[in-house]
């Protein structure tokens, strides 16, 4: 019997000497250190600019920041390109693209703010570009927080793993199994199922309460099951146990549905606005060259 070789993804590797917090939030100390150095260099350059030059988007310094920011902004889009060309191994690992996407994107925001001298631009086009840049980077950082937080929430509080795309199919399966169990049960269990359980099994439900934490039990429903169980004969109790298990599984699916939806949904805050910002950046560069 062969022992399976466990392959660990690059983003799952833990550093034994690092704290739990560092392992969770910093996937690569090298990238993080590089980012820190880049930020420090940028800030030092800006201080020199303040001391020795003019802080203005049109000055040599300001144009330098603007060009660097534009290059980074275009660069971070290659992460999306890589995700669509995973078959092309020659392009390197997607993880490196992701690291550049995160740190390069944050550095872009810093350079953009340096470009405008940490002030709000006066023009409509430039104001929108400034605002969208803040939005894009802000939503990206928000996404990172979600990516670090929600999986932990799910791993710690849910006993079921489900594929988000299969949730409707799994819920339908639960409903079918619940209907089958209830059909063979007596009137009281059927009535209880029809009034209390069936509506919950009808469809996946988005419950924001799960962002605050995933309850360990079933709350009020557990008491209803318990009180009904006491009044039922042994064979009905088995059916009630099955229904209770189905209901608990549905609660877990709802937790997944709610939290994974947020995990995927934040991209709608991030990606479309990024595309608009990229288009505006192109127009801004054209306008600068034209005027």
């Amino acid at each position: 019997m062969k022992t399976a070789v466990q392959k660990t993804a690059i983003y799952q590797k833990k550093r034994p000497g690092a704290s739990r917090w560092a392992n969770k939030w910093i996937q690569s100390p090298q990238w993080f250190l590089g980012f820190g150095i880049a930020v420090a260099v940028c800030l030092v350059v800006f201080v020199l600019n303040v001391v020795f030059g003019r802080v203005h988007p049109g000055s040599t310094w300001g144009l330098g920041y603007g060009i660097a920011a534009a290059v980074l902004f275009v660069g971070v889009f290659f992460y999306g390109v890589k995700r669509r060309t995973m078959k092309v191994r020659a392009l390197g690992r997607a993880w490196y693209y992701l690291q550049f996407h995160v740190y390069g994107g944050t550095l872009f925001l810093l350079l953009m703010l340096m470009h405008v001298g940490f002030q709000v631009p006066h023009g409509v086009l430039t104001w929108w570009l400034w605002a969208l840049s803040l939005w894009v980077v802000g939503s990206g950082l928000f996404g990172i927080v979600l990516q670090k937080w929600i999986p932990t929430l799910l791993a710690g509080g849910v006993r079921t793993e489900v594929n988000y795309d299969r949730i409707p199919e799994l819920v339908a399966d639960l409903q079918k199994r619940g209907d089958a169990v209830a059909e063979s049960a007596d009137f009281a269990v059927q009535d209880f199922y029809r009034k209390q359980i069936a509506p919950a099994l009808a469809a996946p439900q988005f419950r924001p309460i799960y962002f605050l934490g995933i309850p360990s039990g079933m709350g009020g429903k557990a008491k209803l099951f318990a009180s009904l169980r006491e009044m039922q004969p042994a064979e009905e109790r088995i059916k009630l146990d099955e229904l209770e298990e189905l209901y608990a599984a549905k609660m877990d699916i709802d937790a997944h549905f709610t939290l994974q939806r947020a995990l995927r949904g934040w991209l709608y805050l991030h990606v479309p606005v990024s595309v608009i910002a990229l288009a505006l950046l192109g127009f801004h560069i054209f306008a600068v060259l034209y005027y």
Binding site: H56, G123, L125, T160, E245, A249, P272, A279
Partner: protein, 521 residues
């Protein structure tokens, strides 16, 4: 059905789900790019439409300053596609005067209140107008509010409060160039008592009358400020010998009238009773300010002592070195004198006189036109009397004799004026001491009083005791002006503005701002 939630895949662990052999990009994400793409196209379309069909306000980096608000959406007024905004575009409106230097150029800056053309050295690093005058920062941000950084590219003075050099007059202990014998404390006390002024500052302002814009003072004028007390009807010249073969002297009114020199019309209007004769001597009473009889006799004595001069000095009432900024006034005064001569000739019926008069008037027009050019090179030395030009045939005794006549003629004048080379030394009456900066007294007197800053002469102490100060600490050569430290007490970061343009103009020639010719084709 019990299971360990931490060791199994949970409720659906029995499911055998199909697994792909390679990563499948979720097609649902394409929708995000689609939405973003549609949004980008809409936004780009909006901006492109605004830039091409409308007035481009959305593409502009911000609202124009109120100075250029009239351009509206006509970007081409300043912008040329794919080029920087050129200074030539600015010149289209701002430099139509056509002089060689240009009011708003770096050359005019190098010539800051001087006519020293050697300072004008073209520098390839000179920024264009827009390098200092930032546009598109809003209606309420004047385009003339130039940031210090622009000045610091050439002037390494950094902050006004740390690096700015001391004012010239304080650093070099320069004397006041008023050329007047004037003890301040004596006059302050007398004016205060005579006018019954309770406030010392009112006494200051009795003579120091601010210009309407508050940035300077009107020239001190004898008629406005001095003649109440000085040169009254009791003033007279001493008895002076009349000119004769025996020795130097003065010409009488009758003699001067008979000579009919240009500019002698005053001889017909002067009251003969103002002259008294006693043998070969004459005296005049009263003596007026700029008394024509005194000045004409002074001119005559000058011509005897300095015969080789070009005559330009004779067109002036006074002489002596002037500040380079004042040279223009010499020309203007000379032209005014020539105008007076021309007026007198107009009454002459002779054709030759009229022809010459026409030529003179033509020449005067040419000179006036040249004077309108603020950068026309002017030469003050043409108006100066130089001891080197003294007539060598005159002995020292002759010179002393003529000097005695000069001293007698100007006895009343010398109470306040200096006399050198048989000439009354020109008084710098404009009270303009700041060469490179502007100072708005109107803006300052609200916060501080005259004598809080002008402390070099002990006016307050003298007024308190009603005793004039000693001449050593109250002579007219003392620059009664504050040093930079006084300004720095208020003009500091976080207090009053201390930017370069608070005090300095890059384009200093304000006189040309009102020259409407520069705005015309």
């Amino acid at each position: 059905m019990q299971f360990d939630r931490f060791r199994t895949k949970g409720f659906f662990s029995w499911l055998k789900l199909p697994v792909a052999k390679e990563y499948i990009y979720p097609t649902s994400r394409n929708m995000m790019f689609f939405v973003g793409g549609i949004g980008a196209l809409l936004v780009l379309g909006l901006f492109a439409f605004n830039a091409t069909v409308q007035q481009g306000q959305l593409v502009s980096n911000g609202p124009l300053s109120s100075n250029h608000a009239a351009f509206g959406g006509d970007c081409s007024t300043c912008h040329t596609p794919f080029q920087d905004v050129t200074s030539e575009k600015c010149s289209t409106c701002h430099e139509k005067f056509g002089d060689e230097v240009g009011v708003h150029t770096f050359a005019s800056h190098y010539l800051y209140r001087s006519d020293d053309f050697t300072r004008v050295v073209a520098d390839p690093n000179e920024p264009a107008c827009f390098g200092c005058h930032t546009e598109h920062v809003g209606r309420d941000n004047p385009i003339t509010a130039v940031a210090d950084d622009n000045c610091l590219q050439c002037h390494a003075f950094d902050s006004f409060n740390t690096e700015h050099p001391e004012f010239d007059f304080a650093a070099d202990s320069l004397l006041d160039d008023g050329n007047l014998k004037f003890p301040h404390t004596l006059h302050v006390n007398q004016v205060r008592d005579r006018e019954n002024l309770g406030d010392l500052e009112q006494t200051c302002l009795y003579c120091h009358n601010a210009t309407p814009d508050g940035t300077g003072f009107q020239p001190i004028s004898f008629e406005d400020h001095c003649d109440t007390c000085h040169l009254t009807t009791s003033d007279a010249t001493p008895w002076i010998a009349t000119a004769s073969a025996e020795g130097p002297g003065v010409l009488t009114l009758e003699t001067l009238r008979a000579q009919q020199r240009p500019g002698s019309l005053w001889t017909y209007y002067t009251n003969p009773n103002e002259f008294q004769s006693r043998g070969a001597t004459v005296r005049k009473t009263p003596v007026y300010h700029r008394d024509p009889w005194v000045l004409e006799n002074l001119r005559r004595v000058r011509q005897i002592i300095y015969p080789s001069r070009n005559g330009l000095a004779d067109l002036l009432r006074a002489s002596g070195d002037v500040d380079p900024r004042e040279v223009r006034t010499l020309y203007e005064e000379a032209i005014a004198t020539l105008d007076t001569y021309a007026d007198e000739l107009r009454a002459s019926p002779e054709r030759e006189v009229q022809q010459e008069l026409a030529e003179i008037e033509g020449l005067l027009k040419v000179v006036r036109r040249r004077l309108r050019d603020p950068y026309a090179p002017l030469d003050e030395t043409k108006f100066l009397v130089s001891p080197a030009e003294r007539d060598t045939s005159l002995t020292d005794a002759d010179i002393r004799a003529y000097q005695r006549v000069v001293d007698q003629l100007t006895q009343a004048c010398q109470k306040c004026h200096y006399v050198e080379d048989a000439t009354i030394v020109r008084v710098q009456a404009d009270q303009g001491n700041l060469i490179r900066a502007e100072f708005d007294h109107g803006a300052h007197i609200i916060h501080t009083r005259c004598l809080d800053c002008h402390t070099a002469i002990p006016i307050r102490e003298s007024a308190a005791t009603n005793t004039p100060a000693e001449w050593a600490e109250d002579n007219a050569g003392i620059q009664n002006l504050p040093s930079i430290a006084k300004c720095q007490t208020c003009h500091d970061d976080g207090k009053a503005s201390n930017t370069c343009v608070t005090c300095h103009d890059f384009h200093p020639d304000k006189s040309q701002h009102s020259n409407l010719l520069q705005y015309l084709e």
